[in-house]
Amino acid sequence: MEEKTGGRMKAKKHLKTTQEASQIIKQYYAEQQEKAEKEGLPVAWCCIAAPRDIMQALDVQAFYPEQYASYLASRECTSRFIQHAESAGYANELCGYSRAILGYIMDGLPPDVPAGGMARPDFFIITSAVCDNRVKWFEEMADMFNAPLYLMEFPEMPPETRQGSSSGEEVMIMVQIGRQDAPHLFEYTGKQYQGLVRFLEEQTGKKLDQNKLLEISARSRGVGKLRREINEYRKAIPTPMGAADGYTAMFPGTYLPGTKIADEFYAKLREEVKYRLDNNIGIVAEERFRLAWSGIPFWYNMGLLNYFEDYGGVVVIDTQYGAAGTTINTSSPRQPRRWGMNRMVASVVRAVIDYNLDGVVLSYTPTCRALYINQLELKNTLEEELDVPALLLESDMVDPSSYNEAETMMRLDAFIEQVAEKAKHRDWLKDERSKRL
């Protein structure tokens, strides 16, 4: 399938282990399709926040339309599906992921797609966490297949005071489910889990094996621990691993936690990152400035992450999927008065402090309401609280037709100049050597 995109760049990976991830993705799709086809195992299409361990314990073959849309985009294969969805009346302001996948369904799940595509779903799992529109999108898909859907509600609450997000907790998740003054919301969330188990047992005809679930959950926590350990190493200057490798490395941890494949992948990755750390091997010869990528990347143009490297810059971490911003670095002299209007903003502020960053690229994906609406506030907060420059880059996450190469490059160059200059005077770093870089 050939499509014109213009100015598209593939991400360059610097590590060896991360180069194995693409094989893992292909294998995952092939295996799932085979198990669905030959063994007749039930197939679910799920959103990213769906509880994977329960599905794994019940041998559900899970596909993630958001992930598949990004995979299609990284192989330049979304345009024909997006066009199909739009010609059927789905407006071009709607979530790019949803347009791509709705079009893929309307095309009849064609086989000539990367990794063979997603197997035909028997049912759908959706949560209302983070994004409200996904509920509508999944409802549309379930309707197209006339398949059952389980909607798992997550009652998210905004911060309780005008001070915005608090930083008082050791580990922060990006959203707050329930609230102390609302015990009924916790009870309700509990019921949602029970409902999911009942639904899955009905769909699979199996009883959930609690021991198997505990085993998978324990393993999954192990993978989480490994990923956090790797992230700890990335805080070093120079960083041994950047986001270009990080995005590639996220698949096993996000979609296969609780499996041997993920265990082995991250164990190997940790060794490689540790080796690079011990031997002071960075991403660029001389690391001059450090960035975060915040928000969804432009999946059809991941090479943007490497763009800074020629200028001595590294995108150290992504704050959306990279599990950054989960710890609080209280020893840094950089401490904000307020952490921002909500937890998503706070998690990026924390990452900036924790990973010793000089600037943030804020991807502004106009069709993603849940994330884009935070971005300007993130820019305001970073500038006000930490005097850290942020660049708002606008483009859709999977629709290459929205990408403006000339403008993007021009703005990147101006931003690089600004950040590189500022990074020369890091008065917030204790390490004198790093300060001078």
């Binding site: 407006a91 709607l94 409200d132 998210e156 307020r338 300007l376």
Partner: protein
């Protein structure tokens, strides 16, 4: 108390009213009109009389609880003015309604508010709460109500009851006085009366030509959201007793229904009617969808009855499984009011409406005009042209 029946009762029957009657009716409409066009001055006036005003977003907010606390609930609406201050927080391609509301708040237009209640409906409105809470110093009282998407699920009732009770406690703390069941029942009665009366007004739109224009009807409904409900009820009673035999009502014309994601101003309907259509019914969260369903009369606790009402009302498309009941309501609004076509006005980026659009388009057996909406109505000339073409097309059927 009025009883709502299938017919339009005595109010819309034929009868004779002299020239004085006509001017009396027009004087009544101008009272509603004043509330709509001077909404902020009107609210500030009540405030000046020692009343407390609580703004709220979305028709899923259980207003009766705010009313029972002795406060005046008013719907937060935007304006058609250009955005300037809100640009710092929301980019130009964010929902223009949200941007406009924030603009007014930042300018100080909403400084008269004593409180703000935001109910979880969509991502954008939720973020409005967060921005307002973090960036603005007023008002003192802020409250967020979580509302489920899964409105027809059994577990929803309990969680909504919980959220209504939490709102009640929070308001009690703010005012320092308890909200009794008696007060809640009274507020339910006031609001139910309002709903019944508004339905009677809508009944007057069924005849051909309708007794009142779409512009007038929407002005009447919109004013309900912006003033004390008891007073609105009195105005409605007056209007309905005088509407009989109105002679200078609208002329016979192409009958249209309007459906929109958010409409807080009468201009769009006025333009459609100026071009020669009669807007006879609607599916608006500031129109029929807002008042169509009453709180059921029963012995159960008021909080339970409120929860059932808000969960069971004509849904916003943001809710899960809202398609069937919403489409049924739209079809009833077409059939019962003999609409010959539908104008669908969806604000840019209003996802919930946009996801339902392809199916809605297929479901309807009358012509549909889809207009991509913008709060400032900046593309008005183009809208006018499209309305002209649409009316011509229907006229030619």
């Amino acid at each position: 108390m009025r009883r709502w029946g299938a017919g339009c009762g005595h109010h819309c029957g034929e009868g004779g009213v002299g020239a004085d009657g006509e001017s009396e009716i027009n004087a009544m409409f101008s009272k509603f009109e004043e509330v709509v066009s001077q909404r902020h001055d009107v609210a500030a006036r009540y405030k000046g009389q020692g009343r407390k005003i609580v703004g709220y977003f979305c028709d899923y907010t259980p207003e009766e609880v705010i009313h029972a606390a002795g406060l005046i609930p008013v719907r937060i609406t935007g304006a058609k003015d250009q955005i300037d201050k809100a640009d710092r927080y929301l980019q130009t391609n964010v929902c223009s309604f949200a941007r406009s509301c924030l603009e007014l708040a930042l300018r100080g237009t909403y400084d008269y508010l004593d409180g703000l209640v935001v109910t979880h409906t969509c991502d954008v409105i939720t973020k409005m709460y967060e921005i307002w809470q973090y960036r603005l110093e007023k008002p003192d009282f802020l409250h967020y109500v979580w509302f489920p998407h899964n409105i027809y699920d059994q577990a929803a009732l309990q969680v909504v009851e919980g959220e209504i009770n939490r709102l009640k406690r929070s308001l009690e703390e703010f005012t320092g006085s308890e909200i009794s069941d008696e007060a809640l029942n009274h507020s339910i009665e006031v609001y139910n009366t309002n709903r019944r009366l508004l339905k009677e007004v809508y009944e007057c739109r069924k005849s051909d030509p309708p007794k009142i224009s779409g512009t007038e009807a929407f002005t009447v409904t919109l004013s309900a959201l912006l003033m004390p409900r008891e007073e609105h009820n009195i105005l409605l009673e007056e209007l309905l007793s005088n509407i009989e035999g109105r002679k200078d009502g609208p002329q016979r014309n192409t009958r249209l229904m309007i459906a929109a994601s958010m409409l807080d101003d009468v201009d769009l309907i006025r333009v459609i009617e100026e071009r020669g259509g009669n807007v006879v019914s609607d599916d608006l969260c500031t129109g029929s969808r807002y008042f169509w369903d009453l709180v059921e009369d029963s012995d159960r606790p008021p909080v339970t009855r409120l929860a059932e009402r808000y969960l069971g009302k004509v849904p916003c498309p943001r809710s899960y499984q809202s398609e069937e009941p919403r489409f049924a309501h739209i079809k009833a609004m077409i059939n019962d009011y003999n609409a010959q076509g539908v104008v669908l006005y969806i604000l840019r980026c209003c996802d919930a409406h946009l996801y339902q659009y392809p199916k809605l388009q297929k479901e309807l057996d009358v012509p549909l005009l889809y207009i991509q909406g913008e709060q400032t109505l900046s593309g008005l000339a183009q809208i006018t042209n499209r309305v002209d073409a649409f009316l011509e097309m229907i006229g030619g059927i």
